[in-house]
Symmetry: C2
Subunit: 111 residues, 2 copies
DNA sequence: TTGACATGCAACCAAATGGTTGCATAATGT
DNA sequence: ACATTATGCAACCATTTGGTTGCATGTCAA
């Protein structure tokens, strides 16, 4: 089990950091500079946020020359749902989510 | 979709509040007094934590006379995993978790 | 080689957070 | 009726958090 669950939750507690995860979810492997373009704050502030995400192992970093590429890691997120949702509850909730998703997709087709 | 995701993440960011969820996960419907017994802080501090959990809809309360009963609500947690884990990734991760769980249960039987 | 670009490091500051204490209110039981 | 029990509300305080600015370092390209 993950010994650094605390870092994960702390990292997810901030709107800006969640937005960074969203941005990476859409397009993985972006540089610091690219990520900065999505947030209305200084590069140094974004750097701090990314550092928290890295220590929480929510994003992984690969250096390419002078560029720092950021990748999303879904494992810690999944461990959260493992913690407080029972086996059967999970299946029930998943069925609900899938149903809702299906309805939304259908709605988009018609609209 | 949930419009108050922020409250959920803020609520989960604190170790004491996560412990409260763990305690409720083991035994649902406890009073404030009972919950206080599990944490090393004043009743007022616990009250504040529970208020955050309530506004995040992570716990639901029912009054019985002068007692306040607290119940765990798994829905917001599940919505977290919906946000950053793709459909296929989720199945893969779930298979991994189930495998790990199975191994641990087996180990416990043998030990 | 040198200038521009991508990033790191450190000091600083205002606001939010997590805890305390003290007092108030309402339900319970003898 | 009244002491006890279960909880709420408010003021206060130290620490953490999220942001800034200024400067340093390392890589690329002409």
């Amino acid at each position: 089990m993950c010994l650094e669950m605390d870092a994960v939750f702390k990292a997810l507690a901030d709107e800006s950091r969640r937005k960074l995860l969203d941005v990476l979810h859409k397009s993985n492997g972006q540089t610091l500079g690219e990520l900065c373009a999505h947030l209305d704050m200084t590069r140094q502030a974004v750097t701090k946020h990314l550092l928290l995400l890295e220590t929480a192992k929510l994003v992984t970093v690969v250096w390419r020359g002078r560029e720092k590429l950021h990748y999303l890691n879904p494992v810690p997120i999944h461990e959260i749902s493992e913690r407080w949702i029972g086996k059967y509850e999970r299946h029930r909730l998943q069925a609900l989510s899938d149903l809702k998703r299906g309805l939304e997709e259908n709605k988009n087709k018609k609209g």
